[in-house]
């Protein structure tokens, strides 16, 4: 498929220049926006705008009263929120950092000459396909402090394992590790794609120069897999900042409030019926994500151009 494409495009290019630039109509039409625009506009933009209005009201689902920015004030006075902001950052940085490091390492491994490569690729990617709730339930059981497989295995070698999900200082990190377990496959895949697309000539030239594996990694893979790194960082940061499902399935923000993130605080306000407060929280989350992602992606992409 790929090769025919190249041939054909080469041929059409000469055809096109031979025929001159005859253009009766633009072949691009705004009608193509229509189906997506209707669905997206009606089911996403309209509700979002309505929600923004309701974030300025005290809204009990049955009626609402305009209260200005009180919800935002309350939200920032919410004791759980301040700590959850911090947790969100820790969680996002931890998970996306580990995904970058482990993803790159695994991708190097899985593109090298290694036995069982197909098996390894499959097994690393497979958790991506399993439902978050299923993964959460499974690991909650595995991480049970007394009866879970992890601590029982540690017991065998004489280590008394911690309460992974019940120790206040560990719960958030434990959930983050499970998130990495589930998500590293996608990062690895993106890196594999990035490494595979590096032209072999670079490696051959390096071999002629007598470069070792480390030099290859340092001077070829790392700089040339940069777009993959950018993609992994951006995707996993957005995912990490908004992450909710796994935390909810495993700890519900507990014990106490020690693994609460912004998204789970918002969800709790929603559950409690404070709909105005919860939509205000959504706006805050949106601003936080934008404030982090937008400059970061500008920065990362600019560096790429300079390269």
């Amino acid at each position: 498929m790929a090769t025919t494409t190249v041939h054909r495009s080469a041929r059409t290019r000469s055809d096109a220049s031979a025929a001159g630039r005859v253009r009766a109509h633009s072949p691009y039409t705004n009608w193509f926006y229509l189906p997506a625009a209707v669905i997206y506009g009606v089911l996403f933009l309209v509700p979002t705008v309505i929600a923004f209005y309701f974030s300025l009201t005290r809204w009990s689902i049955f009626d609402s009263k305009f209260i200005g920015f009180d919800n935002y004030k309350t939200f920032f006075q919410e004791p759980a929120l301040v700590s959850s902001l911090w947790h969100t950052l820790v969680y996002a940085v931890l998970t996306s950092g580990l995904k970058v490091v482990l993803g790159l390492g695994l991708a190097m491994l899985l593109t090298s000459q290694i036995i069982g490569r197909g098996y390894l690729r499959s097994v690393v990617f497979f958790p991506v396909l399993v439902s978050t709730i299923g993964v959460g339930l499974t690991f909650t059981v595995l991480m049970n402090p007394e009866r879970g497989l992890i601590n029982q295995s540690l017991d065998l070698v004489g280590i008394s394992g911690p309460g992974w999900l019940t120790d206040p200082s560990l719960a958030l990190i434990s959930v983050g590790l499970v998130d990495v377990w589930k998500g590293v496959g996608l990062a690895t895949l993106i890196y594999i794609a990035g490494i595979v697309s590096i032209p072999q000539e670079y490696f051959e030239a390096a071999r002629v120069d007598g470069a070792g594996a480390w030099d290859n990694f340092r001077h070829i893979v790392l700089p040339l897999a940069r777009p993959a790194t950018v993609t992994v960082i951006i995707l996993s940061l957005i995912g990490g900042l908004r992450s909710f499902d796994l935390i909810w399935a495993m700890t519900k923000g507990g014990p106490g409030f020690t693994s609460d993130v912004i998204a789970s605080v918002i969800y709790k306000q929603y559950q409690a019926g404070f709909y105005g407060l919860s939509t205000a929280g959504n706006v805050v989350l949106f601003l936080v994500v934008t404030a982090i992602i937008l400059p970061l992606s500008r920065f990362l992409n600019r560096k790429e151009v300079e390269l």
Partner: protein, 438 residues
Amino acid sequence: MRTRHIAITLLATASMALTACSAGSLGSSDDSGGDGKVTISFLYDNGSETAKIGDQLVKDFTAKNPNITIKTETRPQGTDGDNLIKTRLSTGDMSDVFMYNSGSLFQALAPEKNLAPLGDTENIGNLDKNFTTTVSSNGKIYGVPWGGFMAGAILYNKDVYAKLGLQIPKTWDDFMANNAQIKAGGVDPVIQTYGETWTSQLFILGDYANVNTADPQWAEKYTKNQAKYATTPAALAGFQHLQDVHDKGYENKDFASAKLTDGLRYLATGKGAQYPILSAMVSQLIADNPGSEDKVGLFPIPGTDAAQNKLTVWSPNGVYIPSSTTGAKLEAAKKFLAFIASTDGCNSQTTASTPTGPYAVKGCTVGDKVPQAVKDMQGFIDSGQSSLALEFLSPVKGPALEQICVEVGSGIRKADAAAKLYDEDVKKQAQQLGLEGW
């Protein structure tokens, strides 16, 4: 290339056509036909005992009313369920009959707007006043009782008590003295199960009878924002008790991860001695641990005064009809509610699941084969040594109490800080309800 294009279009249209004809029901229709037959839907939570009771009620009712068919649906428990119910009510999409809490959670449904009043329904006059006040708004009754009254109290293993020669404690100091002996005897004195966070709240919620003893007007002041947990010693005591139990190491070792079923098992097997929990859990205790009905007793959460040893009581859940149910369905739904509010309804529930407290329908008895814990509870109710829980006396209840209690019971937060935090937490609820003085 052409075939691919057509294939995609076909796939899309075919799947749209498929979806148009079925959203998944395997065959049954739910329209009310012209021949007097009516089908109504009935929503309850997915607790294991709940389903047994719901199915039995439907079975016994439809046996007597062959023209009415009832389709049952389940919903999640806890706050997920609260949310689902509010969303469906506000969108006019509620099932024809549904089961839900009474008291403050019922008030949050805006009953006058969303529910059908039951004034003219048969058997409504038969209901216990203590119950009807918790399902009424502006003098109108909206619900009939599901199950019986329950207590928020301490379930204890009688064998452990007998073996160690302990007396039932009437004050908190007695209770702590017992705990010391129980621990010395190699048994976990107090069972806590934060694997299910709601179970953490009993030392606070179940202590309300003691608060009420100290100040009978407290609920009223609390609603008006004139009394606080943090500044009322009797109310703060609940948080303090939870902290004491943790500080003295009286909890079971796996308190942070154990679940309700674990807690009930520890209690039944004597691995743990005492479990502060809702008495309604007795039915699950017995279902999971056959033979435990006579081994487990109940006493109120003790306060400061041995002479004023009172039990904190929860009103039964209610069964309601949303205002979106009309016409023949409304008639059928009211008939069903009248059945639930009759002695036949009680008997039906007794058949399905062990009764866990006295029914709120006049003339209903729980029978004589009730578990020991229910007998103990009945004694307090019959002698008037009881008070309703705060959530039935005031609409103010904060959503984060369970997390706060987990923190206190795990030693993450101290009692006085926790009480302050909870006072902040309830503010949102009070403002949301538009109460005076907040």
